[in-house]
Amino acid sequence: MLHAEFADSFGNFSLRVSLTLGMETGVLFGRSGSGKSMTLRTLAGLRTPSEGSVLLDERTLYSSAERINLPPRERNVGLLFQNLALFPHMTALDNVAYALPPGRKGREHAARWLARMRMEGFEDRLPARLSGGQRQRVALARALAAEPKLLLLDEPFSALDGPLRRSLRRELREIRAEAGIPILYVTHQIEDLCSLGDRVFVIRDGQTAESFPVERLWEKGARGEAWSALGWGNLFRGRITPCESDCACRFEGERVCLSLDGGAHSPGESLVFVAPDKIRILYPDIPVDPDLGGNVFSAVVEETAPLGGSIRLYLASENGVLWQAEHPSESYQTLRLRPGSKVRFAVPPAGIESWSGGPSPR
């Protein structure tokens, strides 16, 4: 059980973290620069906050009131660094054995850890002669060999591509089940969050804004609110009114009006959520599908962010709304979108979710 509550500042950036994590995997989710890595470093003891407390299983790791500040070596907190921090002058085996007491027993134990990470036969390789995925495994073995009471992971898989990421995620899930320790995972990628996490801590501008179980992201009703807390997706507040013609509805928000499908929406004050992958970029020379119900917007591309197989687009529409869209990378290339290019996109009515608004369901 980890209980941390601390404040810190660095230049004009201030950090205020409050999180409680049981025997589960917490995901610290936020954009880059929101203070995620700083939080991990503080928990590991590599950084001293200005005030607060960090408790792990009844052990006080840090307390400004009691003037306790355990150095990293006494904390028993494992940290998997973003760039892994393998010792370049040591072989894979030596790297893992470094976490263990010196001697033959330690080396045997290290070899077992490597074997467990499916790294037999690579014991004598230097990190420079291992592939990215193999290096990840060695780093994970090293962090686990120290038998930490809390494992922190700082976007360790960010450099890997699809299949490798998936297999390492699977391994991490197995390890979590075996080790029975809290794991805190830092990421800004939705896929990692969904596939690994039990609980999300959203961090925004150095503040842990809220936390909720990952399932919330799939619950009908709370879904949109949860997604938008992650800063992901498009959420609008407004009013749904039934239309006279056909059996559709119409949503009217402050800045956005959308046509909706009939059955799924109830009239009244509502929140409307459009997931980024539901937004469809329109090819300039292809006629617009009538099913899109007139939800077509013109926009300028503000920013593009590649996310592996897909690309995140920030689209500023004419009515002053910044939309988030996700688009498969291949078709993105044929569209040749760049920041500043003009684009038309559509919001298919079937991709719109709504629920009655009022006070937010947090």
Binding site: R73, F87, P88, Y98, A128, A146
Partner: protein, 219 residues
């Protein structure tokens, strides 16, 4: 030929004392400049580089003045004796060692040291097992260059140790004396010896640097 032997042995004896001093002082100051933050750090890092560009006579003059005017240091009888030679050799070579040590320690990724800390290691173990092995090559390069510089010191030695044959006459000073007495053959032999030593140390440095680049290329 035999006349060259005492100065040569003296030079080697100076080196024997100067090298450990260079390692400790140069390595220590280099580490501080690379890793520590203290007020006046910018000034200190300029100050320690000053001997590189000052004329040796100026360095020697200030040392002479500092030691001669301090009753305690003066009573130690350092001036115009063997300790003065060690001091002169160390001071003139120190900037090179500091600069190399600073670069060596700065090149070690602090995250590796942090990783070692989270794996339960204390500061000394971290330094011994991570920092030092990774900084070693650059440190050795600095040591080879600064030792060669210490061996060749002329000006500072002349100012604070004099040029007393048999007592404070090192090889470079011996060459000067040979030339003064028009014994060019003697000067040639001694000079050639120093050229050879310099060449050997530069070759060693190149080998060390090549080794490092090969390791980089393997990454």
């Amino acid at each position: 030929m035999t006349a060259m032997l005492p100065p040569l042995l003296l030079s080697l004896r100076v080196l024997l004392f100067a090298v450990p001093l260079l390692v400790l002082l140069g390595g220590g100051i280099g580490w501080l400049l690379a890793r520590a933050n203290f007020p006046g750090k910018g000034f200190v890092s300029l100050l320690v580089q000053l001997p590189l560009i000052l004329p040796p006579s100026v360095m020697g003059f200030y040392l002479l003045f500092a030691i001669g005017r301090n009753p305690f240091l003066k009573s130690l009888g350092i001036l115009f004796s063997f300790p003065a030679l060690v001091l002169a050799a160390t001071f003139s070579a120190l900037p090179i060692m500091i600069q190399s040590a600073r670069a060596a320690f700065a090149s070690v990724d602090g995250e590796l040291e942090d990783a070692a800390r989270t794996l339960g290691k204390g500061e000394w173990t971290v330094f011994r097992t991570v920092t030092l092995p990774l900084a070693r090559r650059t440190l050795l390069v600095g040591l080879a260059l600064s030792a060669a510089r210490a061996l060749g010191d002329f000006g500072v030695s002349l100012m604070i140790a004099g040029n007393i044959p048999g007592r404070t006459q090192t090889l470079p000073l011996y060459i000067y004396n040979r030339v003064e007495t028009l014994d060019f053959a003697g000067a040639h032999v001694a000079s050639l010896l120093l050229v050879g030593t310099g060449f050997a140390s530069l070759y060693l440095v190149r080998r060390l640097e090549e080794g490092r680049n090969e390791r980089r290329a393997a990454c």
